[in-house]
């Protein structure tokens, strides 16, 4: 079991990867990626049982993760590479021609660690539930994880899946919502208010936990606790409070950095705040 400090060090490196990757191609989504870094590092370096050295699509006997808000691909790719799914050197191909690291994640080019294409929002919860149902049929007791943006909850398909999961007692899934309160056109409050999110998920019949996605110890503790909530007849959701751009001060607290890359000056400024810990790609 890694120390919290070790996980935090990995987060610093992953955040460096994120800003360097989007800067290199002057495109991509740094804001949400930085906000979800602690969560993904906790999952891949501590919480999940998985086999990066020998990726199998079916993942029998492994915990599975599905990224539904595919635009935060920089953090996903960095965490996959850093945990051993592919060489970290490949991070330099992000969004370039002939790369396996497409703008949004895909299985199309055989990138190890990716099990579904995502990018068009709202589809990942259904897919994760399907994988959870397959695990039940296969008598595989591992858990399926999924991550969704709060803006993504505008999509109707999410609520079809939310209804289904509770009604059919799919209790081997832990879904997490990245509650950063921002989407492309502004705050979630102004674009399309989500109202009382906790009450909504509870009303649908989910077991709801909350956590602060910026504090690693809290992320790890909450994910461990969530695991103990599985297998009890209810799907589990974690409402994860985050800040877009977490770790880079000028990117925080605004939707401006949802899909904008830093320029040279901004990159230098960001890297100044993110110490290199386990080595740049």
């Amino acid at each position: 079991m890694p120390e919290i400090k070790d996980l935090e060090n990995i987060c610093k490196q992953v955040r460096r990867d994120i800003v360097r990757m989007v800067h290199a191609v002057n495109s991509g989504h740094p804001g949400g990626s930085l906000g979800c870094t602690d969560f993904l590092v906790a999952l891949y370096f501590d919480i999940m049982k998985h086999n990066p050295a020998k990726f199998s699509m079916d993942g029998i006997g492994e915990d599975l993760f599905f990224l539904s808000n595919g635009h935060i691909s920089p953090v996903f790719y960095s965490v996959l590479a850093r945990s051993g799914y592919f060489d970290i050197k490949e991070l330099s191909t992000f969004r370039k021609i002939n790369s396996r690291l497409q703008g949004h994640p895909t299985t199309h080019d055989g990138l190890p660690g990716v099990r579904i294409a995502s990018g068009s929002l709202g589809q990942g919860l259904s897919v994760a539930l399907g994988a959870a149902l397959a695990k039940k049929l296969n008598k595989d007791d591992r858990i399926v994880y999924s991550l969704h943006g709060d803006g993504e909850l505008d999509e109707g398909q999410i609520w079809e899946a939310v209804l289904y999961a509770a009604a059919k007692k799919v209790d081997n899934i832990i879904s997490t919502v990245d509650v950063n309160g921002q989407q492309i056109d502004g705050s979630t409050e102004n674009v399309l208010s989500l109202g009382n999110l906790r009450a909504k998920w509870e009303a649908f019949g989910w077991d709801v936990l909350e956590m602060n996605g910026a504090i690693m110890s809290h992320v790890v503790d909450t994910l461990r606790k969530a695991k103990t909530h599985t297998g009890k007849g209810k799907p589990v959701v974690i409402l994860m409070k985050t800040e877009m751009g977490q770790g880079v001060d000028f990117m925080m607290g605004s939707h401006k950095w949802h899909g904008v890359a830093p320029n040279n000056e901004q990159l230098a400024q960001a890297l100044g705040q993110l110490t290199e810990t386990i080595g740049d790609y």
Binding site: I60, H108, S126, A134, Y164
Partner: protein, 344 residues
Amino acid sequence: MLLLQSDFKKTQQYLNASTLQHMKFTYTEKKDTRSGFGAGLLELGKTHPNVVALCADLTGSLKMDAFQKEFPDRFFQVGIAEANMIGLAAGLTIGGKIPFTGTFANFSTGRVYDQIRQSVAYSGKNVKICASHAGLSLGEDGATHQILEDLGLMKMIPHMTVINPCDYNQTKAATLAIADFHGPVYLRFGRPVVPNFTPANQVFVIGKAVLLQEGSDVSIFATGHLVWQALEAVEALAAKGISAEIINIHTIKPLDEAAVLASVAKTGCVVTAEEHQMNGGLGDSIAQLLARKKPLPLEMVAVKDSFGESGTPEQLMTKYGLDAAHIVLAVENVLRRKMSHVNS
């Protein structure tokens, strides 16, 4: 070759009065193609432990009830939530399941286009999208449910296999065949009872056209319910001295290009027949092939940029020009073009 002046009413009367007793193809019963799907699915339940089925509140209509009863643990009732159904199916493949989704053709395609595109096709998932009540022959429910664009929608998606069998036996055979084929498939069938004339226990080969009747004057490429109409047209054409070749294109994509080109090399002109919009359907695929490889006169029996409406299946097929009489008419038109083409 004897070319008669077209008399559409006479042709219709002839077809209505005729017992078609000289036809090479006969049938002892009429059955619905959706029941062929249901029977195939039930058989797969017994032979393929990884086959699972999902339905969006239309279990009876899709004839999935026998599978549901026999294999309740492998059947997923998803409610009226088709987008979720497609996503669940994509997810179920991760872990080795072979999901068959079932709902009406309209809700299997247009309603869930992006889910099929991203979560199934682009993700390379082994999902079988099985769609009933396609086309005008759905009848009285009217245009909201009579999708005539589904073949086009599905064939445009990269790597999607698109199948439209012609009768009960062939739909059952196709259902069995797609379980052993790895990759996303769209399987289209319908509601009305139609002649069941292809052999029982036939082997269905995906992508391989079936030559039903050899002929020398015109190639008729038909799919789905229109295959039987093409066979009925053969006799009326024969009475006019026209020798028609009939080929059943059950797989719209990948198109059996070799079979099409071999036939037209012999006949020199083409009629296509389908229960679908002219835009995007079988005729469109064949026209594209011929334009690239061998431009020839071609006529299409298809719906011409129109929605359907309420009525009996027979009334609708006649009104929208999707019956044997209209195939005869199209053949006469294309032969006239062929002759002027030859003489010019």
